[in-house]
Every structure is written in C-alpha cells, then in structure tokens.
C-alpha cells in the first residue's frame, strides 16, 4: 500500500493491517525493571507480535494507576530514570526498529522539562505520539500546539461515562487513534471477565461516535482470550499492568525475558 508522506508511523500501522487483525499495543514503564532492559524489552515485544509501544514516563504520584504501575514507576524512579534517559532509549530502539513509539505519562514531568523542549526532543529521537492522561481536552492547549509543531500525534481517551458529544470531541482532537478506557477505574485493577461483561455497550457507543480515528481498548486485559472478546469490535487492544505483573514475577531469574516474550506472543496469537 502506498503511504502518503505526512502519515505518521502510528497512522500507517492501522492503514497496513488486515481487516480482521487486532493491533496489539504494549505498555512498559521506562526504566523498569532496570535501566538496561527497556530497549531489549521493546525490541523483543516487537519481535513477538507487538505493533505499537507505549513507553511509560514514570511519575511519583500516578493517580490514575493501580498498584502494578505505581510499583513499576517507583522502581524506575529509584533506578534513576530521567527524561533524557528515556529519549536515549528511544534513540537506541530507532537504530534497528520502526515500531511506533508513544510516550505515556503525567503532565508534571513534561511541564517541568519544558513542554516545547520536550516535544522537540521527543520528536527528534523518534517518538511518534503522546498520551497524557491528566491533560484532558480542557487542558490540552498546554501541549497540543507544541506536539503538532513537532509532528507528534496526540492521543486522547474516552471512558464509559463519556457522553456521546464528548466522544465526538475527543475523536476530532485525536490523531493516531482513540484510547478507549474499558471500565471506570485505575489501570490493571479489574479482571478480564469483569470487563467483558460491561464493555459491549460502551464499545457500541464508541463505534457510533468515534468515526475518524482507529480505536484501541485498554484497562483490565490480561490474556489473548480477554483481548479477543473485549477488542472484538475495535481495531485492537492495549496491555500494560498484566505485562508488568509477568515481569515482576520472573525478574531477575536467568530466563526472565523468555517468560515475558512468551507471554507477549501468546497475547497476540493465543496458544499456538
């Protein structure tokens, strides 16, 4: 397929995918479980089926996150993660990979770095998009102009309690895809079955209101089976906490990465 010149890496993967294929986006906290592993993990995720990477920028007070991502953020901060180191990691990945990379994190570290400098440096090292959960549309002007100037896709979220009108607004302002939060709550806290039961109605509304952008659904997906059910009527799914739980269970055993990559492969393809 011919890609137009100004299409972002994120937009391209949705254009290139087969109609029945689900895009798998994986979230990993930069600097967790240690500073040296992040690049290997990202490349390994890609090799084992990830289509998109959400690289978490750790924050001391992640108030939209459950215990798993809180833990990973704390470990990464203790490991000495900095914004500069995150940019270095992206640069390293870009040497061998074109997988779309989204930086995801809270607004304060970005604000402290300087929003314009942050967007410039992020774009320069090969970042494709941003998700800032605590900068909703109301406050998006704090970053949206700089992001656009440097060609970064801004991805906003919709939740089950978002109104139809709100979903349409989010669709208008998002570029890349719309992040559909499957349940009201923090990250990782619910079981897959719980999400499956309630998600249908929500996705129906999303489908009729989010028409411009692809849709990825996240929060509470722990297995291939969860993902197939929950993401049935969307373009794909996002896994974060469940992946970090697997790392936490296996790190630092000698073969910990094998376990993690096996999990990733199963998430995408099921039990082969």
């Amino acid at each position: 397929m011919h890609l137009t010149k100004n299409m972002s890496r994120i937009q391209s993967i949705f254009k290139q995918k087969n109609a029945d294929e689900k895009i798998m986006s994986l979230f990993i906290t930069a600097g967790y479980p240690d500073l040296d592993s992040t690049v290997d993990l990202v490349l390994g995720f890609e090799k084992n089926g990830a289509d998109l990477i959400e690289l978490g920028m750790p924050f001391s007070d992640p108030l939209a996150d459950g215990p798993t991502i809180q833990y990973a953020s704390n470990v990464a901060i203790d490991n000495g993660i900095t914004m500069k180191k995150i940019f270095e990691m992206v640069r390293e990945v870009r040497k061998t990979s074109e997988i779309p990379i989204i930086l995801m994190g809270y607004i304060n570290p970005v604000f402290r770095y300087g929003v314009e400098a942050f967007c410039e440096d992020a774009a320069e090292c090969g970042v494709d998009g941003l998700i800032i959960p605590d900068a909703p549309l109301e406050e998006s002007t704090i970053i949206s102009d700089s992001a656009e100037k440097h060609g970064l896709d801004m991805i906003y979220l919709v939740a089950p309690n978002s109104s139809d009108k709100r979903m349409q607004m989010v669709d208008q302002h998002s570029r890349g895809f719309v992040y559909c939060v499957s349940v009201t709550g923090v990250t990782g806290a619910r079981s897959g079955e719980e999400v499956v039961r309630s998600v249908g109605k929500f996705i129906e509304r999303v489908k009729s209101n989010v028409t411009k952008n692809p849709k990825l659904v996240g929060f509470g997906i722990k297995s291939h089976e969860d993902a197939q059910l929950i993401a049935k009527d969307t373009d794909g799914f996002i896994v974060g906490s469940a992946l970090i739980d697997i790392i936490r269970k296996n790190f630092p055993n000698k073969d910990w990465k094998d376990h993690v990559f096996n999990f990733v492969k199963k998430l995408k393809y099921g039990n082969l």
């Binding site: 939209a64 304060n108 309690n161 109104s163």
Partner: protein, 401 residues
Amino acid sequence: MKYTAPDKKGYFGKYGGKFVPEILIPALEELEEAYEEVQNDPVFLKEYHDLLREYVGRPTKLTYANRLTKYYGGAKIYLKREDLCHTGAHKINNAIGQLLLARNMGKSRIIAETGAGQHGVATATACAKFGFECVIYMGAEDMERQKLNVDRMRLLGAEVRSVESGSKTLKDATNEAIRDWVTHVDNTFYIIGSVVGPHPYPMMTRNFHRVIGEETKDQLKKAEGKLPDYLIACVGGGSNAIGFFYPFIEDEDVKMIGIEAAGLGADTNQTAATLTIGTPGILHGSMSYLLHNSEGQIQLAHSISAGLDYPGIGPEHSYLHDSKRVHYYGVTDQKAMDAVKLVSEKEGIIPAIETAHAFAYLEILMPLTQRDEVVVVNCSGRGDKDMGTISDWFGKNSHSV
C-alpha cells in the same frame, strides 16, 4: 480593584484548571452544574447557614488577646476563634457545605482525604449527622501522629483506610482518594478538604469558608470601628487562610500574611514551604506552586504538623503570591512549638500546631506595628489532637522552653 478569580475555566491567573483523567471530567461537570445551581440559592444557603449556627456554633467569637498584646507591646491582637467550631477546627464549614451538595446530587457515598485528621473528623461528623456512608483515606504516618482523630472518625462511623504508599502522609492520602473516586465515580462524592484539586473545588471550598472572613469583618467593626491592619493565617493547602482573607481582598489597606510550614528550615530538604522554595507544576488536578525536583517528581514535604505537611498549595494562593496581594513566609517546627507554649500560657488557648505557625510570626511582625493598629490571627484549630506530639516535643526538647 475588583477581584473576580477564578475565571470560567477555573483559573486564578495561570494557576488552577482541571488536570484530571477523562473519567473524572463528567463528574466535575456534574459538580460544577450542581454547585452553580445552589451557590446563590436562598433555600440551600439558609439550610447551610442554619447548620453553621445551630450545629457548628457560628458565628465563632473574635477574642481580644490582651496578654499577648501586652507581651509584644505593639498593635492590638485579636483571635478569630475557629478552634471553637464543633469538631475543633474550621474544616467543618466546608464539610457541611459539600455534604449538602452531595445530598442534592443524589450521591450515597462520601470519601475524603485527611492529613491532621481535622477534615476527616469534620467529614465523618457531617456524614453521621446526615446518615451517609463515609470512607476516609489517611497516610499511615499521620494515623500514627494523630491517633486521637483516627479514633474519633471510627467512633463517628467512618471507615479509615490507611495509605501506605509514598510518604504515607496527606499527598498520598489524596492520591488514594482520587483513585477511589475514579473507580466509584457513579455513586461517590469526594469532599476535598482544602482549596486544592481540580476546578471547581478550590473555588467551592473557598466559598464555604468565606464566612470566617465575613464574620471577622463585622465583629472587628463592632469592636474597633475599623478594618484590620493585618491578617495572619497558616497555610498548608490553604483553606482557613483563603476563607479568612477572601472577604478582604478588595480592601487594599488590609495587609495579609500566609504562614507556611518551613519544617526544619526552608533551606533544608525537610520542609513544606511550597511558595518560599517551590516552582509551578501540576499535582492533584491543578497547576500551582509545588515542591518537585528537576525531573518533575514530587518531593516529600516535612512539617511537624500533619495538616501542613503537603508539597503543594491551593492555586489561589499561588496567584495571590505572584500578585503580591498576600505575603507568604515560612515558620520552622521549632518556632511553631514555641508559639504553642506561649499562646497556651498567655491566652489560655492551646492552638493546633498548624495554627501555631501563624502565631509564631507575631514575633517578627509585632515590633513593626503601632499601638493603634489591629492584627487578627485566624485561630484555625485547637491543639487537643496534638497533645501526644506536644508532650513528646517538650519532653525531648525541654532545654528549649
């Protein structure tokens, strides 16, 4: 000059806003609408003020502090006696107001964060009075140092949940309360205890406390026939201070001073003096001054007083600081504890350690005042809850008294 902050988007100059996850946006919109409806509604305001009069015990007294005045030998010192409010501090003005709003909105479950426990006790009290389910988040360290208030909340029927993350103090209790709110947003109302958080909380909480300043204005007019020359209040998040200051903001001759907790000193890393050494940032839903490092990670605050032990401050205080309408200074643990003793001995009033920070500033201010001037200190809370800390301090530091 006419003072109209915040604007429609909840900004006090460049501070404030609504920096929250998408899930909370509908909840904040619903809250804004509900508050808009009641804020000038005579029926709602009558019920609120009736409760303040008959249940809280308002108006609180304005007491002339004759022995403190004599001790310093400068301006006359008056105390606005919020320590005489039911539950022992100003916090209940806001807890009652927000609870009535929650009831109007049909919410059945109340959550709150608390530092010193005064807001938790006030919220638990209001919930008991109106028959609401109540969950209070409190840092594990604060539960230790304010044990009496934990027992009070439980006796009042509230569930107190210990928060073990981060610094185990007010900041972390607030994170946990927000996580609860995100999860139970349908039936839950979050009663925020200070002038912090996303819009409309800072404005709404201020308005539920403005009664402090309004009463002070009337009472002082009767007592002295004039406006005060100086107002002093302690500032953590800043609710008692803003309620005290707000009705005087347009009275340009009234000088206003907010006292932050400097902990071991604003030049150490054991401090909570946000405006003195912090820089703007975003925490708990709004932009304001913050204690954070060069990476934007929030730093742990320190103060001997749990109620001031917070690395942020209300956005309106940041605005009043930048515009220099209010001047802010830091007072150390040591100076605050000296003031606890002084005010107890001179006036027969044992102030909360938070409140004692405001009193400690008299030592600096009073030599600069004239005998025909008037200083009013907002005596925001009483010290009963602090007796454990106070006894330990004077036991260990007996050389300093």
